[in-house]
Symmetry: C2
């Protein structure tokens, strides 16, 4: 698989490195000579070029690429221009970083396959983590349903999973049980006779509003 990454800031580099480790060919493009020097040992090819320079991009990016990832932050014009050129070349999958939601909307309309705003998505996730400190990790499946890791509510402590009547009482499913000091000690098929302890963590699937209420 071949990928091109335009803009090798913290985000661009974090995308490029695992792709190279997984035997993909990665072309890094950045207008900073210094960044290209830094990154050249970690990718297959590293080239200094300006995303605003249509001729250079057309010379560098061919339809052999499986996807192009545009990771320029501040310079929105360079992001838009490089998106239009790359789509015009015929690349089917173009993933673009955006600094805010308005820019993201414009990029989607122009044909970006996926738009990501790293700082905003992580900032909002941290705010939720601060507001609900007892929910240590979560994945939202829809606006209504989430998977989250919580401490067992007081009412079910010292009861077995089956006696706790968890599903009926809280309308959510226990899908895993974390017990012990290391993050690695997780039981994905907990025995219904297991007695719930204060130090346990339950991975539950249910309505996020209900999860927030009991944690």
């Amino acid at each position: 698989m071949q990928y091109a990454v335009i803009g090798l800031g913290k985000f661009g580099e974090a995308v490029a490195t695992p792709l190279v480790k997984n035997n993909c060919e990665v072309l890094a493009i950045d207008n900073s000579e210094e960044r290209i020097q830094d990154i050249s040992g970690e990718v297959s090819h590293a080239v200094t070029a300006d995303a605003l320079d249509e001729k250079s991009l057309r010379a560098l990016i061919t339809t052999d690429f499986d996807a192009v990832i545009i990771c320029i932050g501040e310079d929105f014009e360079a992001t838009i221009l490089s998106l239009m050129i790359v789509l015009d070349i015929g690349i089917k999958k173009v993933i673009v970083k955006a600094d805010n939601r308005i820019r993201a909307k414009i990029l989607k309309k122009l044909g970006a396959t996926k738009v990501i705003f790293p700082e905003i998505e992580m900032g909002e996730k941290l705010a939720q983590n601060i507001l609900h400190p007892d929910i240590s990790d979560y994945l939202s499946l829809s606006d209504k349903y989430s998977i989250a890791e919580i401490s067992p509510p007081k009412e079910v402590l010292n009861k077995s999973i089956s006696n706790s009547d968890f599903r009926k009482r809280y309308k959510m499913n226990i899908i895993a049980l974390r017990r012990g000091s290391s993050k690695e000690e997780i039981d994905v098929n907990p025995n219904p006779d297991t007695i719930l302890q204060h130090s346990d963590k339950l991975v539950v699937l249910g309505e996020i509003e209900r999860i927030r209420k009991i944690s």
Copy 2:
């Protein structure tokens, strides 16, 4: 609850805004007059001050604060210094943004409660998404186990969930079924008689290496 956010870049603002929306008091501190002007309508208090100015920080941050979040990116010295001052004031929970893993290690050693690198975490997640495009969303519970959303493997298409023998065949559990065009249409207690279709998405819990093999 009272929080102070130092550094109101994209990340700092994304943390502060939901906290204010959830009726928390938020004090925003930034050394850019312009940023403070922009953000002042969105937070309880906004003050221009330099994180490197110990006297100002001590005057602004008291032990009433439940947590302080330091979101300065480039200037590592300002991040370290403000961390030390805030810990010295007696704040128990200090969450800090770092630009790379080495800096994160230093901040942890100095006593940061939690360290976050938004660009790196999101960059690495995107790389996984590019490498395994059939896994649309995932939450890693440990190095070994993850929850992921995948398309049903060919061998179980047109079979019911119970006839597919999913758990025995793939050593993973189906915990939800997404069917229909909207992200909201998810069934968290799928009926075992449901016939699996090509357009379905299965939310599964199992070993990440096994999940990657069948998707």
